[in-house]
Symmetry: C3
């Protein structure tokens, strides 16, 4: 009996299947410090216990994207080891902060399957939920990936394509229990701009850039226990390059967006996301944001901003697609998320 | 009086000498997180407090190899600063888990000395023991190294070569207090293979590979406060390369062995080990395992697997030595250890 | 309204101005571990809770330079984003240890302004103080930087150049509450040399070297939330190189100085400092020390050593300036500090 995990192929998924992903993980002060070493993260609510307490929380939670990466990383051996492409995200919601000492595990349900016309690959849709050690859901999102078939002659399953919300509705955003911006200190947060200062359609160039290195992205990707070979092994791709985990680009771009969005404190919804082009060591990542929408939430003083966050490895800010409608070659990421901001 | 440490030379050792190694170290959540960032470590008992508690422990201990590296690192300034080669390990036993907050220190006793026939070097055997802040021994092992003489004309000491056990006897393995695999969750652990599923002689190719970088191995080696110049200083070796600490290869290979040995949870014995060839930045480390032996332990449900873990930087799996009996040039590590596995 | 921070220009400062720097930061076990991974730090009082407790402290504090970097990092967006050069330090005093769990913030007061004769730049002097979450000052120092003018035609302010002490007087050094070296364990500390063993004028070559890598210095600089573009972005300087944060060189040199100064345990005063030449990835950092002064302190058994710590990227030890009085091109750092040492 072969004991190593070859990953699942398209035929191995069926609608309704539930996958308990392996290797629970306790996170804490070490993951928090590493997150700050790997990304220029400065949002105060994740940096300072005192600031978080002034916002009604018990302490600084783990960065919302670190929580995402831990939950996501667990799914890789079961969902994307044989993936050809990571196609999209939808209906992502952060349900509870992750505190130092929490132990996270992930469960996925297969909610869609569609074989491609070439007969060699298919698209798998999973809804993944992360749980803490009290079995409370902390995060849920849908992801779909293109996966190889083991056997091109295997019959196609009945196509099921889930209907997914274009965006998470504001009323479905979960505001962390106790959160208040009533005593918010804009000096300590780093910028004076409130929710009311942002206009739909406004674009912000985040100005700063970071040239990325092999050692950094591998440390980050391992930290989240993401095992995809292409990130680590120069023999896994024909050109000998290591593909940088898309989540590394997400975190880098979000951290860079502090400069102009310092008060977009907490990510609570993930509407959509595309990894437009591969990122490699030596690329200099920059970011810009477009305000897509804004809304008040159920908590007085807490507003929500819907933001398009674009990461690039060159080119001018605010350019996304070419005349053919395709992403420009220098665009790395197009992410659509909801963040909470003092009104 | 010169104040810097020139390291000890062969003449500076005598049989029975006890060396109190410097710089005790408190380990905790930060070292745990860094271990996960530096190695693709996924054994659940070290990753999750909740999983470790379900196995009867108070919390996830520090990875057994991290404990080894901390204890080992302290010995370098006293034992191997002038070492020409790290020749072997024997009689290694983990005696107590290392918990976050523990402070470790190391003590070595010189148990063997043998001058080489060239008169310029000699072999020093030390038995090193790591202690926690309660002066409880947590780890012990024998290591022997080839050390330069300060003065080739100094007389040779009487040769003393200790008799060392070929393997640690199963009855000498210490099972951590309280450890039980009765409620073991194979889904969360990541693989279904039990102790009974492994056969003596079975070989496992761990499939994955990691291409290593300078920044990573230096961070790891510093984390263990290992001060050997060859790991850090490009002017220390004629070709300008930095030699990667052998322990980095051990940890990388052990982490890679998760894929096929996810349930070989805790290392409790180190029977032997050889760093067959040097590892340099840019090498892609892979690993394979051969099951050398298996035995039940004093604790019902807890089995022991004796495993040969081989790390390579190329070549085919399961090839170890050439026709001349020497290690193949692509073999980095040949390690013989005992791990605990649910029966 | 542009929302990104362009940094302040010379005209934006006025005497007496107080700047509340943004993004408080909680530090802990993660930062401690990362400090050990990034630098070969071995001073026992920062490495071991048990050792620190034997010296009368509650636990091992965060390394004094890590505390400095966190406090310093917060000032960068407000003080040195448009700086041409970091000119000097003075009157630095560590006032309280920083403990794991402390939250640090920084406040600066502008105490000097002097436009340069070229009309395009000016020198800004700030006194920066770091506070913990109890609003206790933990560190204070003066720094002066050369900053660009936004508009060369803007009128020059009245020149104010503060009178700064050449060195911090011994009676102004703050000995951490409870500190005692009465039960000091020289074996565990790593060297036998006491305060009485050092002579004014004595020079120590710290022997070891570390070749630095891009990934390391960027991780360190991000960890301190220092946002200066030149450290991260290869497009920020004409030659595509990333300038290494001067504080990275300070920490590397101080850690290397363990070899010969293992008992110069705690830094309590910063008298002066110059970043003599830029440090780039690939440079091999070495260090040497000259004992400039020594004094007893108010606490029996606790002596102070005034030390010149020089970091180089080549050349011979103990050479600092050329015949023209300028720093030799291989000198990176000339730092003048007070450390506490058992008498």
């Amino acid at each position: 009996m072969a004991k190593t995990n070859p990953g699942r192929f398209f035929e191995d998924y069926s609608i309704g299947q539930t996958i308990q992903h392996a290797v629970p993980r306790t996170v804490g002060a070490g993951e928090r410090a590493l997150y700050h070493a790997l990304y220029p993260a400065r949002h105060a609510i994740y940096s300072s216990d005192a600031f978080a307490q002034a916002c009604g929380l018990d302490a600084a939670p783990l960065d919302d994207l670190a929580a995402f990466h831990v939950v996501f990383g667990k799914t890789v051996p079961d969902v994307s080891l044989n993936a050809v492409a990571n196609l999209g995200y939808a209906e992502g919601r952060w349900l509870k902060p992750v505190w130092p000492g929490d132990t996270l595990r992930s469960v996925s349900e297969v909610i869609g399957l569609k074989q491609n016309s070439n007969g060699r690959t298919g698209v798998v849709y999973v809804r993944t939920t992360g749980f803490n050690e009290k079995d409370e859901a902390v995060l849920t999102y849908v992801r779909w990936v293109m996966v190889r078939k083991r056997d091109a002659d295997a019959p196609a399953p009945e196509a099921v394509v889930p209907e997914l919300a274009k965006t998470v509705a504001v009323e479905d955003l979960v505001i962390p229990e106790g959160l208040t911006f009533d005593g918010y200190d804009y000096d300590l947060a780093g910028e004076p701009h409130r929710w009311g200062d942002y206009e739909v359609g406004e674009q912000i160039d985040h100005v700063d850039g970071v040239t990325v290195e092999e050692a950094e992205h591998m440390m980050a990707t391992r930290l989240w226990q993401n095992t995809a070979k292409v990130h680590f092994d120069t023999s896994a791709r024909p050109d000998g390059s290591r593909l940088i985990y898309g989540g590394h680009v997400i975190s880098m771009a979000r951290a860079l967006s502090f400069n102009g969005l310092a008060n977009a404190q907490m990510i609570v919804g993930l509407n959509a996301g595309a990894h437009a082009n591969p990122c490699l060591s030596g690329d200099t990542i920059r970011a810009w944001t477009e305000v897509l929408d804004k809304a008040e939430t159920s908590v007085p003083g807490v507003g929500a901003l819907r933001l398009r966050l674009v990461a690039t490895k060159g080119g001018a800010p605010f350019e996304l697609r070419g005349e053919d409608g395709k992403y420009l070659p220098e665009v790395l990421l197009d992410l659509d998320y909801w963040a909470l901001c003092p009104i």
